[in-house]
Amino acid sequence: MSGRPSPEIRPVVVGAGPAGIRAAEALVAAGLRPVVLDEGERAGGQIYRQPPAAFSRSRKALYGFEAGKAERLHATFAALRAHIDYRPRTLVWNAVPGELHVMGDAGPATVPFSHLVLATGATDRIYPFKGWTLPGVFSMGGAQIALKAQGCTIGETVALVGTGPLLYLVAYQYTKAGARIAVILDSARFTDQIAGAPAMLRQPATLAKGLYYVAWLKARGIMIVNGAIPMAAEGTERVERLVWRTPAGEGRVACDAIALGYGLRAETQIADLLGCRFSYSAAEHESLPASDATGRTSVAGVYIGGDGAGILGADAAEAAGTRAALALCEDAGLGVDGAATGALEARVGRWRGFRAGIRRAFPEPVAADFALADDVILCRCEEITVGALRAACREDGVDELNRLKALTRIGMGRCQGRMCGPAARALLAHHSGRSPGDVGRLRGQAPIKPMPLAPMPLVFDEAKP
């Protein structure tokens, strides 16, 4: 550490997951006292989510192979507490240059910043199918949160649908917790997984873990179907059955819950509201804030790290969070060790290679494969069907996502397109004959998540309209 940080430097970190915690750690080491905001009850982020304080499952049971890492990260955070301004249960709902608008325990507040590290992580990527809005269908993340935060499973006989390594991890965790897995339905074909293997060898330990889960599940006779597309979740009051299709024919199984997820998508709304430049990543099938290897975005003073910058996983998030904080320190004129920054960038780079393998092993399903009927709900919040999207393309010539939103309300509801965005984009591209990159992206809009309207009663304070 060289030089004394000037009091004008007011760093803020959004997110207390692996990336945000490591960022805060680096800022504290540089002599700064960052504000750390997270909407969660306790620090740890998505993967190292901590159960409520009164909860008694062991770390080993909660985090499995990752128990050691979880413990280290939580310990780091505990040691940081005295040196940071940590505000849990605080949602950042809007961002403007130099200011975050938050809602916390004490009501609405404004948090000024000179430098901002965005470490907002990711959420599930969902593709709809017939019946997916029935009670009993959860996102993969929802299924995991139920286990980690509440210690319960989403059902007794659970079907897992989607693609990606999380499918197998959640199956493993659920089996260990005593649930029965009805089927694992993976849209990736077996040949995809072979094709992805070489790149995944860059992280042999992680690949080994993945293979271990699959072998463990197979040894227990759990049905794994590859190259499968879900056709329908059936049931009267709630899910009773899952029907799918493979090139070989149809299959069905009884279940009382379904967890759904095709990998993850980055949470990028804050960067969007701050005017960061975005570009479409064909590999990731999403628009991401443009950032360089250091975590700098196109907006001066705004840095980004972890899955919120593009999915690379928890280990990469730790390195990227540290790197982004060091970029902040560099820009703030605080001394930074060049060798350390280089090593961090190299570490993140290795995960990028691994990620490319994951992408080949678990490719994005093709929208056309779903053969979705017109009456399938696409946007759950606003209850808009796939047919409405098709009609907008056909009758109004819609070929851009925000126009689609304006005309159909797709993506306009409480989830702001988190759920339906990826599918809407893929379907719009398919039906308008454009590439997914060309149909644009749903612009982020405040509030990032639903906000209480009247945190405090306020009587007329001004005469002016």
Partner: protein
């Protein structure tokens, strides 16, 4: 470079531009309409959706009266009903002074058949149990209503296109020059339009377009702010305003409440956003006026951009300095309801040199006239 030669060029495909283009096409006039973004994506598509005559100045009520039947039969005009409902509009009172002001307004506009009904006391409370104790009465206009601006604005632009208007979107006009008796418009190097007449329907940017042709018309910007809640059980069907301003609200059929009040700020590059106090301001007022919204959650909030004039009336008419240039901007937060009529009026002004609806009060040079030296020629 794409070249067009046309009778009339329209700058701006908001409701005003689109309604004008549609009316002109229905008379067989050739029209090219140029829009920087997408048709109906600015004020016309993001406004509150109040289709209201009550509260307008008598000068504007002529236009409002002309627009009134068009709304009722919107489907015939643009192919959709735009979720228009004649829900009525109530202007609320918090004090006896407010009620007196509402009664005075009702007397002043008695000629316009608005059917205003002043309600207070038990009659008011029984009819509207939804309003909070601070609200003591109001003025009800049964024929007013509400519609979905997102749908109406886009459909107007689409109707103009279907009527044969050349609508060029994502095409900002970057240069306008006089060419003979007509005009030459350029959108960078992409498009050039030669037109005998020009309609300036550029909304909040209208004064800038006027200035480019030497017309100095005073106007200021502001950024009215709107929010939408999650769907709630039915609370209120009538469109709500309040004497003195500061709040407006309506509940749509799906249950969401759309509410607004106050102004946001510019955020550069022709964009705007709510100010940091917007949520607390609108939320607080909503809780006082409609207590049932107290626990509602907001899912969207935004600020539009609108041009305001000193007398809150728009500029509508031919430029005194530049023959062939027709202005229609500066609608001061009230252009949604009257836009269908403004389009027809402009069409009449362009084709016949006069309109059957009085629009003298909206002369674009009215502020210059006041300050001009007697005898000075424009």
């Amino acid at each position: 470079m794409k070249n067009f030669d046309t009778d009339v060029a329209v700058v701006g495909a908001g409701l005003i531009g689109s309604a004008t283009a549609l009316a002109l096409r229905q008379r067989g006039v050739a029209v090219v309409m140029l829009e920087r973004d997408l048709g109906g994506s600015r004020a016309s598509g993001v406004n509150f959706g109040g289709v209201r005559r009550q509260g307008r100045s008598p000068a504007q009520l002529h236009l409002a009266a002309r627009a009134h039947p068009i709304w009722a039969d919107l489907k015939a005009k643009i192919g959709i009903d735009g979720e228009y409902v004649r829900s009525g509009h109530i202007k609320l009172a918090r004090s006896q002074a407010d009620l007196t002001a509402l009664a005075a307004y009702a007397a002043r506009v008695a000629d316009f058949d608005l059917g205003l009904e002043i309600l207070e006391g038990r009659a008011f409370r029984e009819r509207y149990p939804c309003f909070g104790p601070e609200i003591i009465g109001g003025s009800f206009c049964p024929g007013d209503g509400q519609a979905n601006p997102r749908l109406v604005a886009a459909a107007y632009a689409q109707a103009a296109r279907q009527a044969g208007c050349e609508v060029i979107e994502r095409c900002p006009v970057t240069g306008i020059t006089r060419e003979g008796d007509g005009f030459l418009l350029r959108c960078g190097d992409a498009v050039a339009v030669r037109a005998r007449r020009l309609v300036n329907a550029a909304g909040a940017w209208g004064a800038g377009i006027a200035a480019a042709l030497g017309d100095d018309i005073p106007m200021r910007f502001d950024y009215p702010t709107i929010l939408v809640t999650e769907p709630l059980p039915p609370i209120v069907s009538v469109n709500i305003g309040i004497e003195g301003g500061g709040f407006y609200g309506r509940q749509v059929e799906r249950g969401n409440l759309v509410m607004g009040g106050g102004f946001g700020v510019a955020s550069g590059d022709g964009a705007s956003r709510p100010d940091s106090g917007a949520l607390a301001r609108i939320g607080g007022r909503a809780a006082a006026i409609l207590p049932a919204t107290r626990h509602a959650r907001v899912i969207r909030i935004w600020a539009g951009i609108e041009g305001y004039t000193a007398d809150k009336n728009p500029f509508i008419g031919e430029s005194a300095n530049v023959p062939g240039l027709f202005h229609a901007f500066g609608f001061s937060g009230g252009g949604f309801q009257i836009a269908p009529a403004v389009g027809e009026v402009l069409c009449e002004l362009i084709c016949e040199g006069r309109s059957s609806t009085p629009v003298e009060a909206f002369r674009p040079d009215r502020f210059q006239q006041q300050s001009a030296e007697p005898g000075r020629t424009p």
